[in-house]
């Protein structure tokens, strides 16, 4: 009870402070950044706010190996260019960031340059963190200074030529990096601006939900249009299309539940998004509502269900559909219902579930192969799980049942082939 109410207070406190800073103080923040007055020890309240903001930024996801000491670094991040290792960010002077100043930290967040002057690889989401205000950056830094120092050298990145040459990052930055703190849109509400600040900044949602091109860049024009997450074999749906994860026609409470509780009446988080809810969003209170307000307002590139050209030809899928409906009745209907309505909120609906009918079939195939538990969260500490079917159903059977689910009950997904299933099976099960 206590931590929860404390967090609620913090969240309430964070909203006006963050907005006030974003709205009125950017110039002042830049000038104070240059002063070198001796720093008093960080106040407990600042450290607490920093802890909350670090959770909002999900720093732990990359900077902590599961089960290891917090922020001791070295979690491997496989990329198409090689493997990166997130560094130790504990306050150890020799191996962590113990010798950094708050200015160093802000400059790193804001410009993507380390205090020694080298360019950071964009696996560190500085293209998003550049939106973070100086005050929030300082609070996060104060919190990072408060965790136990761990002496552990950060592993060298293991990148292929030519990506191991950091000077190439200059080109990448020219194309994809736009430096600058979040600028509020005065035509929108304070809550919308708070949501936009978090989604575009600390939340670094664009890292997955904006398509990544061959250079590992995500362009502004395609912001939040969705894309396959490199190396993870998950598709991050578009947040702007109501055919995908566009939230235009969702109730605000369903968006809040999805993000914060992990389950909702419209769908459940899974894959990499489950990690975001587990590490980050479950601990945020009113801020999740603000994010929901902003996400719901993102422009829809298409009206809902307005894509008949993409609808499958029934004749081509007739056999798979029949076979799939048989498998569905035997294996899936107990929980998801004969009509795909689910049992809310724990067994998600499949009928008219955007996640099922998206142009990429990667996610529904993987759900059937791997099953899954929604994350265990404060609001849903003992989630209900779905069994994996990889060991039970062959590629043809899974292709059939996914084809059925993607085309039944008014869903308009394209059929799925056994070959697609096989590729994901070998990539994600063995």
């Amino acid at each position: 009870m206590n931590p929860r109410s404390l967090l609620r207070k913090l969240a309430l406190a964070a909203v006006p402070v963050g907005l006030a800073v974003a709205a009125w103080v950017p110039l002042q923040a830049q000038t104070t950044a240059q002063t070198n007055a001796p720093k008093p020890p960080a106040q407990a309240s600042v450290v607490e706010r920093g802890r909350y903001l670090a959770q909002a930024g999900d720093c732990i996801a990359c900077h902590t190996v599961p089960g290891a000491k917090i922020f001791s670094g070295n979690r491997a991040m496989p990329t198409p260019f090689g493997t990166l290792y997130a560094p130790n960010i504990t306050p150890d002077r020799a191996t962590g960031i113990g010798s950094w100043s708050a200015d160093d930290f802000y400059n790193m967040m804001h410009t993507g340059r380390s205090p020694k002057g080298y360019l950071l690889y964009p696996a560190m989401p500085f293209a998003s963190y550049t939106r973070v205000t100086r005050a929030d950056s300082d609070a996060i830094f104060a919190y990072l200074r408060s965790v136990p120092p761990v002496r552990q050298a950060s592993r060298e990145h293991d990148l292929r030529f030519p990506y191991n040459n950091r000077s190439l990052l200059l080109g990448w930055r020219t194309l994809y990096f736009q430096e600058g703190e979040y600028q509020p849109d005065r035509s929108k509400s304070a809550e919308w601006n708070r949501g936009a600040y978090l989604v575009q900044g600390l939340g670094h949602c664009a890292m997955c939900h904006t398509p990544i091109n061959a250079l590992g860049g995500s362009s502004q024009e395609k912001a939040f249009q969705g894309g396959l997450i490199p190396m993870q074999n998950w598709y991050a749906p578009s947040l702007t299309s109501n055919r995908e994860a566009g939230l235009g026609n969702w109730a605000l409470q369903d968006i809040v539940d999805l993000l914060q509780k992990g389950v909702s009446n419209r769908g459940t988080v899974y894959g990499p998004m489950a990690e975001v809810t587990f590490n980050s969003l479950q601990f945020m209170n009113d801020d999740v509502h603000a994010m929901a307000v902003y996400l719901k307002s993102l422009p829809a590139d298409q009206g809902p269900e307005s894509d008949p050209g993409q609808a499958p030809l029934r004749a081509d899928v007739g056999q798979a559909y029949t076979e799939g409906s048989r498998i569905y009745a035997a294996r899936c209907a107990t929980c998801h219902g004969a009509e795909g309505r689910g049992k809310l909120p724990h067994y998600p609906p499949l009928a008219r579930n955007q996640s099922i009918g998206m142009s990429s079939a990667v996610n529904p195939i993987r759900m059937v192969l791997n099953g899954g538990y929604p994350p265990g969260t404060r609001r849903n500490p003992m989630p209900y799980g779905m069994p994996p079917f990889a060991q039970d159903l062959n590629d043809n059977e899974i292709a059939s049942v996914v084809t059925f689910i993607r085309t039944a009950w008014g869903n308009r997904g394209a059929p799925v082939t056994a070959r697609e299933v096989n590729q994901l099976r070998s990539a994600t099960v063995e």
Binding site: L344, P345, Y347, P349, G371, Y373, P387, V429, E430
Partner: protein
């Protein structure tokens, strides 16, 4: 528990007002562990009884501490098996403990397994190791820790009955190569990496040849183990 009931109640309230579906009695999900662990029983069998597939072991009746340690090890990647690592990735400790206690409390009749023909020499060699250990390699007898009847020991040591040879052999191999690890000090890592291939095969064959009895984990607080094991905390100092 009140919190859970509250959440479900809240969900149903929204549902009632939702245009998408009308709640009926059939739509209600039982607020039980049994309903929550359906993701497990698809592979491990109803009530965690075990299944035909050698690699999906029986969970029922194993000590809760042992099951909990395995769940945490899978979640954190200390024990590597991709489907389990994936399934448990975002589940909190308290819930994993509830799952462990649930399966520990069950005792469905064991699965009847087909007879496998084995070399009598190999089975005898395995019996020697299981009951006497290998003094020259400082390997204690399996029964010292896993119980005279091999039914396991509370709170953290599993029973070894009903496991098939391929599974036991795969686990010892995984320990040897660091794919399966237990809490430090990892006594089984020492044992598995000290055993030769033929010794592993003999132990596996002997264990698999034993009938599954009603043996349950023994409770013997204060017993000193021959090796220090992180998953079985010792009272009164380490040996």
């Amino acid at each position: 528990m009140k919190i859970i009931l509250g959440i479900i109640g809240f969900g149903s309230t929204l549902l009632a007002g939702s245009a998408h579906a009308q709640a009926t009695a059939a739509d209600r999900i039982p607020d039980t562990m049994e309903a929550r662990i359906q993701a497990c029983t698809g592979c491990h069998g109803a009530q965690g009884r075990g299944v035909e597939n050698v690699y999906f072991p029986r969970l029922a009746g194993k000590p809760a501490g042992y099951l909990y340690n395995q769940l945490v090890a899978f979640r954190d990647g200390r024990r590597k098996y991709v489907p389990m690592n994936y399934l448990l990735a975002y589940l909190p400790d308290a819930y994993l403990m509830r799952m462990a206690e649930h399966f520990a409390s069950l005792n469905p009749p064991p699965l009847v397994q087909p007879k496998v023909a084995r070399s009598p020499d190999q089975v005898r060699a395995g019996q020697r190791i299981v009951t006497q250990g290998i003094a020259a390699k400082k390997i204690p007898a399996c029964v010292t820790c896993h119980g005279t009847e091999l039914g396991g020991r509370e709170p953290g040591i599993p029973g070894l009955l009903g496991l098939r040879a391929d599974y036991v052999s795969a686990q010892l191999g995984a320990w040897r190569f660091g794919v399966r690890t237990a809490l430090a000090p990892d006594c089984m890592q020492f044992i598995a990496s000290s055993l030769s291939e033929p010794e592993v095969a003999a132990v596996s064959a002997y264990l698999a040849s034993l009938p599954v009895t009603a043996a349950r984990p023994v409770r013997q607080p204060g017993l000193r183990l021959p090796l220090a094991c992180g998953s079985q905390p010792q009272q009164g100092g380490q040996p």
